[in-house]
Point group: C2
Chain length 351, copies 2
DNA sequence: GCCCATAGGTACAACGTTGTACATTCCACC
DNA sequence: GGTGGAATGTACAACGTTGTACCTATGGGC
């Protein structure tokens, strides 16, 4: 028995032509039920599995898509990757993950690189390139953009309601009676450029201005990457500046978790002294102490939509359709850090 | 300008044969410097990129390896995937990630599935199949096993020093004066079967027996998956049973983080009242409150070794070599939860 | 001036699959 | 009893690349 039988071996064993075997494998109709059965049995017996390189060469499709993200060490991207892999698996696709490390050169290389003659399409979540690089997205290969760094590009784009969900987050804090709401993880300087940070800051401002409270610049902590240390440092800065605050809106969960830590260390009670809300609804927030209220940006929906758009482009159903932009729905998942619950991380308002 | 030029297009443009272009691309010597230059320039100008399906078909190698893990939502596997992708990238390989969800059928399907005619080799981290399934690993395709569920199989295997590092963890607790050391995440029933849980429990027993303290079965909390809730529940069980304990060895970091949460909720100080040590050295433990002492099992080393072994098998340098088993080195990373530091998560003994 | 080595190339087949176009059988129908 | 048309198949080319075998100048050694 050959170690790796080809379609020829199966055909010979079955006494039919290779095309007939191919037809059986692809459920083409032109095969009699008896022949079909015999071929199927031999395929199983011989352990035949089609060579995807050959199939890919012939058909121009490999059944593999790429997902480019900064790093799986960032939980947001690990969870996104999980969702994307599941969405792809549903459609019989596999996913190659490319880590760009938030490196500009690597991101550009990924977009224009040899990668593209191998995968059928790419889901790309940029971290370094921005609006000014919009032209590097111009390509004939199927590409779906994720995230907030580039808008109005030439490709399909899946993003979230950053501004309105951020506004809802702040309104949630207002709703539980907080008025001195700090913002942490804000961009280095407020700008109109589209980025998660800017868009979410805008939501913060809208909520406060609309409520009549207005913005106190001392409550806005700017700068730093969205890591836990930054959340810790932000709380330290607020405390050191002696400004009073009774709530914190962290622009993502990782920052929020750092903030929780720093607040606990300073003996401040959450939510009694300070309420905290994050953004991303990471698994982790369900089990922090206290558990973390967060904006759920609909990661599964984002993944599902992005894969669906990509598949459409790959199949060229949409060959030359205008680029589409889709925003996923969001919701606030309330947990202990804004007052929900009895201190039991096990009972939560949502899965 | 053709959208996707092939080697033929480049050859025609350069006025040479396709083989010459191929030779230039593969740095074969039989090309004059002038021709080489001209071809190179045209490759750039035309944006030619080799079709990897064709190359894969011809050469039998795709440049893609698979990594099968239960789920990227488990931080351990996300970090492992990060390390594997980096190790693979160093060697010019890409990684397809397959999630098995800890599902037996899916794991077996992954091993014997169509996957294999597409990737050059597979790194497989089982979560459901065990020693009794050792024969499903028998395959002619390059396969490297990760983890502790199966030993003595027919493939290369990368694992860690579970028992001795667990023993070292407990000895670390003994070393800071703790004697009533609880174990959480222990297997449902103690067994000889090789699994992370059993092997690590064995280390716990060895340390305590060797120290003369011996095992108090009331301190061993059995059952539950290694999730945060389980860590929370384990502490609750210990507290409810009224047994005294001054330290906790959690069989992984996720459990330990749950334990930290439950301890804090009960007003117990860590490490003053209860010291805690985990296992895995996740990024997350660096930023928990308090930061978490943990066993670092050498994930980068594991990834690096596993990819190296796989590449050897793929290149058949080792065509029929006996299966190798490699154990990575380990070390204890001491942080606040066992007494290190001043409460500042920013200053740590190691990156 | 001849032979031979060598550098620099070329032609062709092959990898395993699927699409296109055509072949054969069998039966229903007029 | 010929005609048409399903039903069931087959042969061959083609996808883009690389390995094998070969070809052709050129120049050096004698």
């Amino acid at each position: 028995m050959n170690v790796n039988p080809t379609i020829h071996d199966v055909a010979r064993a079955a006494g039919v032509s290779i095309k007939t075997v191919s037809n059986v494998l692809n459920d083409n109709p032109k095969v009699g039920p008896e022949t079909r059965l015999r071929v199927r049995r031999l395929v199983d017996e011989m352990g035949y599995r089609p060579n995807l390189s050959a199939r890919g060469l012939r058909s121009g499709k490999t059944g593999v898509i790429g997902l480019a993200v900064p790093s799986l060490r960032e939980m947001y991207f690990a969870e996104l990757a999980d969702s994307v892999i599941r969405a792809a698996a549903k459609r019989g696709l596999r996913v190659v993950i490319e880590q760009t490390n938030g490196d500009r050169e690597l991101e550009i290389a990924t977009l224009s690189g040899g990668q593209m003659r191998f995968i059928d399409g790419l889901l790309f979540s940029p971290a370094a390139i921005g609006q000014q690089d919009v032209d590097v997205l111009t390509t004939d290969d199927p590409l779906v953009l994720l995230g907030e760094r580039i808008f109005g590009g030439p490709t399909d784009h899946v993003t979230m309601h950053n501004t309105s969900s951020a506004r809802a987050a702040v309104e949630h804090l207002l709703g539980i009676g907080r008025t001195k709401i700090a913002l942490i993880g804000a961009p280095e300087q407020p700008a109109d450029e589209a980025s998660s940070a800017n868009l979410r800051e805008r939501g913060y401002r809208q909520a406060l201005e609309h409520s009549g409270i207005g913005i106190d610049p001392r409550l806005v902590v700017r700068g730093g990457s969205w890591r836990r240390e930054t959340g810790v440092a932000a709380i330290r800065r607020l405390r050191a500046s002696n400004v009073e605050f009774d709530a914190v809106f962290a622009l993502n969960d990782t920052l929020a978790l750092g903030a929780l830590r720093a607040l606990a260390q300073d003996g401040l009670r959450v939510p009694d002294d300070v309420a905290v809300i994050g953004f991303d609804n990471l698994d982790e927030g369900r089990f922090s102490l206290p558990s973390l209220t967060s904006v759920d940006p609909g990661r599964d929906e984002i993944a599902e939509t992005a894969v669906a758009l990509l598949v459409n482009r790959i199949q060229e159903k949409d060959a030359r359709a205008a680029p589409k932009t889709v925003k996923s729905g969001f919701r606030i998942v309330q947990r202990e850090s804004t007052g929900f619950g009895d201190g039991d991380g096990g009972r939560l308002p949502s899965a």
